[in-house]
């Protein structure tokens, strides 16, 4: 008997060890690319070129890459535009999504069921790329900031999340507000919104991160207005298209570096990634519980 127990214990320990090793490797694999990029962004181009294998720490500290990126006006323009889209988009989207979720959460609003069907149906069928583009064109929104903000004002997925939260709120507060003569809007703004801050944060954060990372709508809706392009489109030029135009601001500085000029592109790209991803890297570890919550609230809907 004791032999079996002992063997089980040994087996359990071996299991734990193997599991520990596998999971550690998975964790490192998830983190490594970003570490590589950060270390690379601070490495001397010559050392970086000669370096083979894992890069965990800067090779010969070198910050000119960042100087060049900082001196490029295009990245700041992208930053500014992204901040506008994220700021205006998130606020207006959260507001509209909240209104929409509220009317769908009220059992005493008679058209509730038909309206819910009308809205949820759009999660399953959509217009497609071309008709959406032509709609933006026909509404004269093409090449305006409106093309980025207006078509996403209400996110159906977030409507479902907020509606669920509103429905699960205790009814007693609502009842007492009604007794005090508060109208439907009072209930929303004085009671439901303040008591569902967590769900609202979920909606705001997921909307903000999605907007920060979004590039495709801007690439088709803002073809002629480079000055309105968000950061991600600038990144696409630098990281995917290797456009020399995007690093133009740094070309002058790079020329001073002589032979380094040709080698420095990698470092510039890494530094650009770091600058563009830093806000997300700083926010997500602290905000992850809200994202997880939103993910679960959405999944529960089924």
């Amino acid at each position: 008997m004791s032999k079996i127990v002992q063997r089980q214990k040994l087996g359990g320990r071996l299991f734990d060890l193997v599991n520990f090793v596998i999971l550690t490797l998975v964790g490192l694999a998830c983190l490594y690319p970003m570490i590589h990029v950060i270390a690379g962004s601070l490495s001397h181009p010559e050392d970086l070129m000669r370096h083979r294998g894992l890069l965990l720490w800067p090779k010969r500290l070198f910050t000119v890459g960042y100087d060049i990126v900082f001196s490029n006006p295009n990245i700041w323009l992208g930053y500014k535009n992204t901040l506008i889209y994220v700021g205006v988009g998130t606020l207006s989207r959260t507001f509209m999504t909240m209104l929409c979720a509220y009317i769908l959460s009220r059992d005493d609003f008679m058209p509730k069921r038909i309206l819910t069907l009308f809205i949820v149906l759009t999660m399953y069928i959509g217009g497609g790329m071309i008709p959406n583009y032509l709609l933006i064109y026909n509404l004269k929104l093409l090449n305006t900031r409106g093309a980025i903000i207006v078509p996403t004002l209400i996110n159906t997925w977030n409507v479902i999340i907020l509606r669920t939260a509103f429905q699960q709120s205790p009814k007693s507060l609502e009842e007492s507000a009604k007794l005090d003569g508060g109208g439907d809007l009072t209930i929303l703004f004085a009671i439901l919104a303040p008591t569902n801050i967590a769900a609202l944060v979920v909606v705001m954060l997921s909307s903000a991160v999605a907007e920060w990372n979004s590039w495709f709508p801007a690439s088709i809706y803002l073809p002629l207005r480079k000055d309105l392009h968000p950061l991600q489109l600038y990144l696409r030029e630098v990281l995917i298209e290797y456009s020399s135009n995007s690093t133009a601001g740094g070309q002058v500085l790079a020329a001073d570096l002589g032979s380094l000029g040709a080698l420095i592109d990698d470092v510039i790209r890494y530094a650009t990634i770091v600058l563009a991803t830093m806000p997300i890297l700083v926010v997500y570890p602290f905000a992850q519980k809200y994202f997880v919550k939103g993910f679960m609230l959405g999944a529960v809907k089924g």
Binding site: V26, A29, L31, G53, M110, I119, M129, W215, L235
Partner: protein
């Protein structure tokens, strides 16, 4: 009292409801307008797939051509290629991407150090939050002829090359990076489900002499099985609709042969070459296949396991 309410006509009740909740009705106006204009109008806009659409003439003025655009898509030499690529890439993605988060969740669940578990989870979410453009940029850099992944593959005997431009490596890179980006985030749902398992089940299994591996397979796995089925249905149902943004960032004419999918073809024909009607027809074809797939898969799932979306 109740009887009195129900005896009133629908119109009367609606009128009373409206008078009592004017603000709710007021709110519903912008909501309805938004959905009509930005969600339903584009659906109706697909009528251009049956026209020879000219932007100057508009939908009403353009010539109606019936199924012509669909016929030309069927006879398009690239149609078969894009359809085949769409299906193969998405099936590969399911084969590798679907089990990965489940395995990760099972392993994380067995980890006996709560703090380390939380650190690992946070680390595994990171790729999900990085933008697709940056992910594609990193892939491009790491698989360039002097990239770190290329270095690694050269160590294992591969010839040094720019991997992303190699038509035979493209799909591997696409799928592997997809697993990397989605595995941690995908495990959340399974871990949450596992945490609802009844501890008594594990105690009973231990008394019966089940070791850790057996507990994982015979206790934990059945707990997440229903969720697994639903997730698989959802994923199978979206076979035709995913991947255009990532593909647009990663592919190049060098690898079109194995990379070009229906939605990227729709993009090139419709928006780059401005052949709107043709692009819309390709898109509509894609959505149509997608809906049939979703319904079929759902029916099969309901037959096999009583789990379904509707």
């Amino acid at each position: 009292m109740l009887k009195q309410v129900s005896s009133k006509s629908f119109a009367t009740r609606l009128k009373e409801n409206f008078l009592r909740h004017k603000s709710l009705y007021l709110i519903s106006i912008p909501v309805i307008v938004f959905y009509l204009v930005f969600r339903y109008l584009p659906i109706a806009g697909n009528v251009i797939a049956f026209q020879k659409y000219r932007p100057g003439l508009g939908v009403l003025g353009s010539k109606f051509v019936g199924w012509d655009n669909f016929k030309s898509f069927i006879h398009d030499p690239f149609a078969a290629r894009t359809i085949k690529n769409t299906i193969i890439i998405n099936l590969l993605q399911i084969v590798f991407g679907f089990p990965a988060p489940i395995i990760l969740a099972l392993l994380l669940n067995e980890l006996r150090r709560p703090l380390y578990k939380r650190v690992l989870q946070t680390a595994s979410y990171l790729p999900h939050f990085i933008s697709m453009v940056v992910v594609a940029g990193m892939i491009k850099d790491f698989t360039a002829s002097d990239g770190i992944i290329t270095d690694l593959c050269v160590m294992f005997g591969m010839e040094r090359q720019s991997m992303l431009g190699n038509v035979n490596l493209y799909r591997t890179i696409y799928i592997a990076s997809g697993v990397w980006q989605g595995v941690g985030w995908g495990s959340i749902l399974y871990l949450a489900t596992i945490s609802t398992a009844d501890p008594a089940l594990y105690e009973a299994a231990m008394i019966d002499g089940a070791n850790r591996w057996q507990q994982m397979v015979h206790v934990t796995l059945p707990v997440i099985l229903p969720i697994m089925v639903v997730q698989l249905i959802l994923r199978l149902g979206s076979i035709m609709s995913e991947g255009s943004e990532k593909t647009l960032l990663l592919y190049s004419p060098l690898v079109y042969e194995k990379a070009d999918i229906i939605s990227t073809y729709e993009y090139r024909r419709g928006l780059i070459e401005m052949d709107f009607s043709y692009g819309a027809a390709v898109g509509l074809f894609n959505s149509f296949v997608n809906i049939i797939l979703l319904v079929t898969v759902n029916r099969i799932a309901r037959k096999l396991s009583n789990e379904s979306l509707w």
